[in-house]
């Protein structure tokens, strides 16, 4: 009997249609072309959105056109190469960090196996060091003596259309989560390399719609959805109605109220999409319980700042909107909801873009008197810091049994954890409101794994890619689900609430996703409430 040999079996499978996996690479990485096919790239930005953004004051999105990554010809402007090289030069001069990141990597490999995209795909170009090398090779070629003389021997290569295509593929297979930078002995922030790649691509009209459309909406109406003031107000009012039905307490939130002490800003997703809605109900209940003098704004109606995923000018403009509104309303300071990248912009870029916000006051909790000296410059306090402080001072009364239907774990959202050090406050809150357990040590706190769909990659046409990149996170959730019967993944980020929901639907269907403040809202005892037994807390359908 002829026995098919193992080698034949492997030969028959590796010669199949797979391009990213299945074959041992026999060529140098520079010689492996990028192939775009339906499902491995996010849809490109619509021409009218790019044109609109380019027409806006302070923003620069040139070369709008109809094009497809699958086409050979990307319809680049004639002088595209000059634009890219000049753009890189300008940024090297402007951002000293970029120049250092380009020069100081010793290719030690500490970051290589820390990226969730690498761990889920096995694609070497998803090693953070390699992703940076995509840009660094061009930098060497045009900006270093060694590269100019030795060329490829010094790891340099000329900027070509092929390189540009590779940039597009891999700068959109990075969620700028910065896990890799935790392990870099030089502290290279590979997320900033991705940011530069994306900025350069925008100069030649290359961007994705799931980022540019929310950006243009935010620029126009103040939030990603393009919700107009009356709709935004209606949505919050609906949530207040739901709370009244569930608890018997009528809450009447105010909007655009001049003279309020605090302006509250959260991602608009909390106001319009599940499961964020329940987190927003949690905010309303919390503020009612302590009698906070605050207002919502229908103009600064978005905490999210997708500008961070495009270029620094757009990030600056969208961040400025929140402060312009705080100034207009005359509030003392801003309280920020459970958002991810809003906090990264605040903590890492705001001061040199729009800050310091001297026209506001240093935040002080009106209930406990605590001075938030950490927010002395930005004048913006995180809802978890604020809540943890209230609990610490015994200002909130909880009935933890109201969360008895929940066995939670906590996902450290990348930006709050790594970009602002918000690690213990949410845990302190959870300790008081719910029964919960930690995921394994190398998947939490500073080492947290990304949801896999941040930085505007939360779009359904790349669902497979998102499931791959989310595998390391989902794998850790699976462990606590199987070991401790965890049925709820809590987090403090609106993108997480959307993306982790899909991630769980695929990998761990019996685990739900919620915001920490939803769990607070469930357990918090409101004065005068007539709350009955709610089997699913604020999610209970009456």
């Amino acid at each position: 009997m002829a026995v098919p040999k193992l080698e034949q079996l492997s030969k028959s499978v590796v010669q199949g249609p797979s391009l990213a996996t299945g074959a041992i690479p026999t060529r140098d990485w520079m010689d492996i072309p990028t192939v775009f096919k339906e499902g491995n790239y996010a849809y490109v930005a619509k021409k009218d959105k790019v044109e609109y953004l380019d027409s806006q004051k302070g923003l620069h999105f040139p070369n709008a056109r109809e094009w497809s990554p699958e086409d050979e010809d990307w319809k680049l402007p004639e002088n595209w190469k000059e634009i890219i090289i000049n753009g890189l030069k300008e940024r090297l001069d402007k951002f000293r960090s970029l120049k250092i990141f380009m020069d100081c990597c010793v290719r030690c490999g500490a970051c290589a196996d820390k990226c969730h995209f690498f761990l889920g795909t096995g694609d070497p170009k998803n090693m953070p060091v390699m992703r940076a090398e995509l840009l660094r090779s061009v930098y060497r070629n045009d900006f270093t003596l060694a590269g100019k003389i030795l060329g490829r021997m010094a790891g340099a290569r000329e900027m070509t259309v092929g390189v540009l295509k590779e940039w597009f593929m891999y700068s959109y297979q990075c969620t700028e989560c910065r896990r890799c930078s935790v392990f870099c002995p030089y502290g290279i922030d590979t997320a900033e390399v991705t940011m530069m790649l994306r900025e350069l691509l925008h100069l030649v009209g290359i961007g994705i719609n799931w980022i540019l459309e929310p950006v243009s909406n935010s620029n126009r109406t103040g939030n990603h959805m393009g919700l107009q003031p009356h709709t935004f107000k209606d949505n919050v009012d609906f949530l207040a109605d739901d709370i009244e039905n569930l608890t018997g307490v009528k809450i009447t939130p105010s909007f655009n109220r001049k003279g309020a002490e605090i302006l509250f800003i959260t991602p608009s997703a909390d106001v319009f999409a599940e499961p964020g809605l329940y987190t927003a109900m949690g905010y309303l209940i919390l503020f009612e319980a302590i009698g906070l003098d605050y207002t919502w704004s229908t103009y600064a109606s978005e905490g999210g700042n997708f500008g961070l995923f495009t270029n620094n000018e757009t990030m600056k403009k969208l961040n400025a909107k929140m402060y312009a509104e705080a100034k207009r309303l005359g509030v003392k300071y801003i309280l920020g909801g459970e958002c991810g990248h809003m906090w990264r912009v605040l903590h890492q870029y705001m001061d040199t873009m729009n800050g310091p916000a001297d026209f506001l006051e240093q935040p002080v909790s009106p209930i406990t008197g605590t001075v938030f000296s950490n927010a002395a410059s930005t004048k913006m306090v995180h809802i978890s810091e604020f809540t943890a402080d209230l609990i610490k001072h015994g200002k909130l009364k909880f009935d933890k049994s109201r969360n008895s239907h929940v066995k939670a774990t906590f996902h450290d959202s990348c930006n709050p954890a790594r970009a602002m050090g918000l690690i213990d406050e949410p845990r302190y809150i959870l300790d008081h409101v719910v029964d919960w357990v930690e995921m394994p040590e190398n998947t939490i706190r500073e080492q947290t794994f990304c949801c896999g769909s941040g930085t505007g990659l939360n779009t359904d046409e790349i669902m497979e890619l998102r499931m791959r990149s989310g595998l390391p996170r989902a794998n850790a959730v699976k462990y606590v689900h199987e070991k401790h019967d965890v049925n709820m993944l809590s987090c403090v980020c609106a993108i997480d609430r959307a993306t982790l929901t899909s991630l769980m639907n695929y990998w761990n269907p019996s685990v739900g996703v919620c915001g920490v403040t939803e769990l607070v809202g469930n357990a918090l005892i409101l004065e005068g409430e007539t709350r009955g037994e709610l089997d699913e807390g604020l999610r209970t359908m009456l």
């Binding site: 499978v13 199949g16 249609p17 795909t121 394994p440 595998l471 850790a476 639907n505």
Partner: protein, 182 residues
């Protein structure tokens, strides 16, 4: 006379090791996937190793397919969302037949047992068939996840076209491929 059960006891670890290595060699970065043993630092490698370790004894004892499903699912849930064709996703399961034959063949005292592997290989065939079902269930779950996301409201962040636009006649590239064209 050495019997089959003894031979499997003797070589179980070697078979699993080679099977795991073969499965992980289908990834470009197979070196890391094989080397790192922490399942949280290396979910692909860790899950493949854990699942194949559980699967081998089931194949040896000729277990019911139902018993094999959790291990098969542990592997295929991952491979069905990676860039493999369906056959590539499943083929490494088949490899255990050839690995076992090669290992027994190389041992003079146990060469004769190759002729007794019919039941083991039949169990592997059943596992491979079950794997096709699981692969399809995973793909269906993926599409369902996509639909649920679109329905959830987060999708209306943009007015991007509905996925059904892929089916339009005037856009041949996005037409569902026929069998011949795959």
């Amino acid at each position: 006379m050495i019997d089959l059960a003894e031979a499997f006891r003797n070589y179980k670890e070697k078979i699993v090791d080679r099977w795991v290595e073969y499965t992980l060699s289908t990834y470009q970065s197979s070196g890391f996937f094989i080397k790192e043993r922490d399942i949280f630092a290396n979910p692909v490698g860790g899950n493949v190793r854990e699942a194949l370790n559980k699967l081998l004894p089931l194949l040896i004892k000729g277990a019911e397919t139902q018993e094999m499903i959790p291990s098969l699912e542990q592997i295929l849930k991952i491979r069905s969302v990676q860039e493999f064709s369906p056959s590539q996703a499943i083929a490494p399961l088949n490899a255990v037949k050839h690995i076992t034959r090669e290992i027994f063949q190389a041992d003079k005292e146990r060469q004769h047992l190759v002729a007794e592997l019919y039941d083991f290989e039949f169990a592997t065939d059943l596992a491979v068939l079950a794997a096709f079902d699981i692969y399809m269930q995973c793909r269906e779950r993926l599409y369902l996840t996509r639909i649920l996301e679109i329905k959830s409201g987060t999708h209306i962040l943009t007015d991007s076209k509905c996925p059904s636009a892929m089916l339009k006649d005037d856009n041949k590239k996005r037409t569902i491929p026929t069998v011949e064209s795959i």
